[in-house]
Amino acid sequence: MVKKSAAFPAGLYAMLLFALAWLTLPRVFAPLERWLVGSACFVPRVGSAWMGEPAMAGNREELALIGELSADLRDRVKRHDFAGSGITMPNDDKSILCGVLSVGRRGGGGEPSELLLDHTYAELGDYREIVTKGSVLLGFLLKPGVGRAVDDKADDPARVILCNHRDAPRLYAGLESKDGTQLRFVIEPAASVDPAPLRVDFWDDPYRASKLQESQQRVYTLPVMFGQERVPGGLLVGRTRRWGYEQDDGQDTLTIGMFVTPAVAPRALSHVVVWQSGEHAAPPIEFQSSLRARRRIQATVYDLPGATHGRHMLVADEDVPDGAAVVQDGLFLGSARGLCLGSALVTSFAASRQDWSLLFLPPEGEGGPVELHGSVVRTDGNVAWLRWTGPSREQLARLGEGFLFTGSNGKFCPACLWIGRAVPDQFERNLLKVIVPVLRGPRIAEVIVAERDV
C-alpha cells in the first residue's frame, strides 16, 4: 500500500504553484532564471572553445546591399511619415519622428489603444496634442500628471492614447458620399466588443446615413467652427465599415450602424510623428535618452548543438538585456534572452513564434514602407512563412517582392534592421514568405544594450 503522504506529492504541486507565481511576477524571479539557465549554458560555453574561430562578416557585396537598403528605408520612413501633415498645422511647427516602444491597453474593437514612445515628455518639450503619421490622425499625446498619465513624470516615456481609447476625445469628421455631397458626423471610441475600433455616434443627416450603401469610404476630420479646435481638419481617420441587415431580392442593405477602422493598425505601428509648437519654441536641448538604446557591444554567437535550427548561444563581456537585438553588419540575427555572466540564448527570426512589428520595403519607386504586424507560423530551412496584419487595401494591392526589416520591437530592438527578402505567398495573401540568409558556425556580432551613464 502506498502511504497517503506519498500518494499526494505536495512538493510537485508546490513547484507548479511556484511557477504560476513566477509567471505573475516575472521581474522578481528574473535573476533566478538567469542564473539557473545560465548555469546550464556553462557546458556549451566551455564546448564553444572547440567550435572554431568566429567569422567576422559576410561578403562585401551583401554588406553594401544591406547598408544601402537600410539607408533607403530610413529615408523613405521619414519622407512617408512626414508627408501630408503640416497642411493645416502652423508653418513654424516642428515635426519629430518617434519610435514606438510598446502598444497596450485594450480599447475599442478589442484593439490596443495606448502607445509608449521612445522619447520622454521632457524631450518633446512644448508639444501639440495630436499625433500623426503622414496625413493620418493616430491619437493624442498626454501630459504627465494629468488624466490617464497621472502617475507619469516628465522623464517617463511619452504616452499616446489612440482614437479608440475610452478617454480619447470625440472627433468631428465627415465623408464624401457617392453624389459628391458631404455627410458629417461625430466619431467616438467603440466598445471593446464592437467589430471596429471607432463608431459613428451622431449624424448631421440620419436619413441619408441610413441610405449609405458603400463601405470602405475614407473618413476625414473636419475643422470646428466654435470652441477650441483640438484637431485640425483634413486628417484621415480611417475607413467606414457598415453594419446592417441584408435584404432579400437584391434590395439595398438596411444600415443600422457605421464603424470606422483606423487607417493604420495599432499593432503594426513602428513610428509616429509628434508636433512641437513653434509659438513658444524653447532652445533645442540634445538629450541622450536611455529610451533609445543604441549602444552596441561586441559578442560571439555560437550555434547550439542540436537545438532547433535558429537557436544560438551568445557570449558577451556584459550582461545582455532580454529582447536585445543581435546584429551582424546590419543583418538581424535574432533576439536575445539574457543569462548570467554575459551569456544569452538567441532565437532567430525564422525560429521564433513571437509577435513582431515589421517594416516591408517595396522596391525603389513603389511608395513608402509598409508597416506590418505578424508572427512566423512555419519554417522550412531558411524560409519562414509570416502571417501578417496591418496594411491598408492600397498597400496590399502593391505588395510584391521586397525586403523585410524589423519595426520597433521594444527598447533594445529598434527598427530598420534587415531580416531578409520577402514575397507574398501565392495562395494565401496574408502569408509572407521570408527568405533569410543562412549563417553557420561561430561569428562576431553586436548586441544592442542600454546606455551606460544616463
Partner: protein, 167 residues
C-alpha cells in the same frame, strides 16, 4: 548531493544531445516526453520538484518560452500521470507506449495553451504526428535502459528497478 550535481549537469544537456542526434538523422523524439514519463512512473516522489526543475531548464535551452512555462508544461502531465503509477506496478511496455503517445500530444498542446495565456509562443507548440509515433515506439525501450543508468538510477524508486514483466 552528488546525484543532484549529475542530474543538473547531464539532464539539461540531454535536450541538446537529442536534437544533435536528430540532426544526424535519428528519428524525432521529444526529450520532454521521455523525462516526464520517467518522472511520473519511475522517479522518487520526494525528489520530483527539483527533478522537474532540471528537466525544465533543459527544455529552456532549446525552446524560446521561459523556465516557469516549461515547469508547467512538463509538470502538469507528470502530476496527472503520477496517481496512475500504482496501477502500473508491472511497468508493461504497452501502457508506457500509450502514455508516451499521450504525452507527445499533451506537451505541445500545453505549450501552445500557456504560450497564448502568458504571451510566450514557442516553436515546440507545433504537434508533430511522427513525433507521437516515434515516442510510442522508442520511449519504453529507452526508459527501460535509462532508469538503470546515471543520473536516472539514483532517483529511480526501488519498484521501478524491477525488470519488465512480459505477459
Amino acid at each position: 548531493m552528488r546525484r543532484w550535481f549529475w542530474w543538473f549537469l547531464l539532464v539539461p544537456q540531454g535536450f541538446l544531445l537529442v536534437g544533435f542526434l536528430q540532426d544526424l538523422g535519428l528519428p524525432p523524439l521529444d526529450m520532454a516526453v521521455l523525462t516526464s514519463l520517467y518522472l511520473a512512473w519511475f522517479a522518487q516522489r520526494s525528489a520530483l520538484p527539483f527533478l522537474l526543475l532540471g528537466v525544465a531548464i533543459g527544455r529552456t535551452l532549446v525552446d524560446e518560452a521561459t523556465l516557469p512555462v516549461h515547469i508547467l508544461v512538463i509538470g502538469i502531465p507528470v502530476a496527472l500521470l503520477l496517481p496512475l503509477r500504482a496501477l502500473f506496478v508491472a511497468q508493461r511496455w504497452l501502457w508506457q507506449a500509450v502514455a508516451a503517445a499521450l504525452l507527445a500530444i499533451a506537451i505541445p498542446k500545453l505549450a501552445g495553451l500557456f504560450g497564448r495565456a502568458f504571451d510566450q509562443p514557442s516553436v515546440s507548440s507545433m504537434l508533430d504526428g511522427w513525433q507521437v509515433v516515434w515516442s510510442a515506439l522508442l520511449v519504453p525501450p529507452l526508459l527501460s535502459a535509462l532508469r538503470f543508468l546515471p543520473p536516472f538510477v539514483a532517483f529511480t524508486e526501488p519498484t521501478g528497478l524491477l525488470k519488465v514483466v512480459a505477459r
